[in-house]
Symmetry: C2
Subunit: 209 residues, 2 copies
DNA sequence: TGTACATCAGTGAACGCGCGTTCACTGATGTAC
DNA sequence: TGTACATCAGTGAACGCGCGTTCACTGATGTAC
């Protein structure tokens, strides 16, 4: 990683090609969409021969996994920031939901790759559930902090899953043209997102409010 | 379509190749998954040359659209049946939700194609919204029948969208291994689905129940 | 400090593959007379 | 009822393409002495 020569054309050794490949993949992903994400295209985007990635990834799937992994970490960071930025306990849940959907809106192709990778394994990333300060735990803790009965483990778990489903569902739906009228009627996309979250309960229960 | 010769090997003219191609696509979809759904593979599965489909579909996208369209009609029928089968007003909403998720569970690859086609157009199928007895209207009418204020158009629309998001989100989530423990704890998949739907409200509001 | 050499991280050409699509064709069908 | 002919719905060979992956290779790096 000779700093002195770094500015010259291209050194033979890259320095951190693994990093560069993931970055190239993400660039490609957002500019061309998930279907354009071939190993060769990523190598091309990184300015490297098609065989070079094989020194850093076993195969294409491993590269995609790495990209997805980074996506989950970004989402996790976005959720952590949203929670920390909320002014009151009552706002935390909505803030998390909006942050989740906004992440998906701002990184649509990455978000798709993240879920496609998980679906292939039939497994969400483990650390989402397992870690102590994971996104999953943040939702659960918010439920408890907001007054949910901590002894009702199943209920809390179901509500956490429900929140996750709602966020994912809205994330995939929010982009459809059908909702544009509603968005403008409510005065913006974020108001629309909050509105949908707030009405989640309305259809599930006997009704009310 | 000479019935007399229909049983012999293969007549030169197929009779209804368009139908046969869509059926072949669906067979392929469920046995091999969405990534296996190439025009050539569909033709192969239907026992026909790779050029034959072009007499019935402009290109690959048009064939996929036809498959997706049929998927939406099947989903619509499943939802109508679920509504008609519900014993009480209170059950309708849950029945619709469970039917939706079960459709996705039973036709995972088809469900994926349906959404991928929609996403490419950034448009859900029009008739879902527009028709008078559409799935969308069924959810909305259920909300009203259950006591929602019919004059609160925006609220009802938001709740309908929320229901749709929740169903879609759960449909995509239900297959993950992480939830198996919860499913068995609750005594089966359907109980899990109902549980998640019933807890949709719990996370969105101030809490309660 | 200088040199021999193992190791690492690239190259670029090649492999076989399945794809979407086009083309000139031909067999079967149905209609006009 | 028979025949000529336009139309329809197939065939199968071919096109060019980009893909994932492998291979023998080579330039650069770092370590032992």
């Amino acid at each position: 990683m000779r700093e002195t020569a770094a500015a010259e054309s291209r050194p033979y050794h890259h320095g951190d090609l693994r990093r560069a490949l993931i970055d190239a993949a993400r660039r490609l992903l957002e500019s061309e969409g998930p279907s354009a994400l071939s190993l060769r295209a990523v190598a091309r985007e990184a300015g490297v021969s098609p065989a070079a990635p094989y020194h850093h990834f076993k195969d294409k799937a491993e590269l995609l996994d790495a990209v997805a992994h980074e996506g989950w970490e970004m989402l996790d960071a976005a959720l952590a920031a949203a929670r920390d930025g909320a002014n009151s306990m009552r706002e935390v849940m909505a803030a998390l939901g909006v942050a989740y959907v906004c992440f998906a809106r701002d990184n649509p192709a990455l978000y798709r790759v993240m879920y496609d990778c998980s679906r292939d394994k039939e497994d969400l990333p483990e650390h989402l559930h397992a870690d102590n300060d994971s996104a999953y735990c943040r939702v659960r803790d918010t439920l408890i902090a907001a007054g949910a009965d901590p002894s009702d483990e199943v209920g809390i778990e179901l509500a956490t899953v429900a929140a996750w489903c709602a966020a994912h569902g809205l994330a995939e739906m929010a982009g459809f043209k059908q909702f544009e009228r509603l968005k403008t009627a409510l005065g913006g996309e974020e108001a629309f997102l909050r509105g949908v979250f707030e009405h989640m309960g309305l259809f599930a229960r006997g009704l009310g409010d």
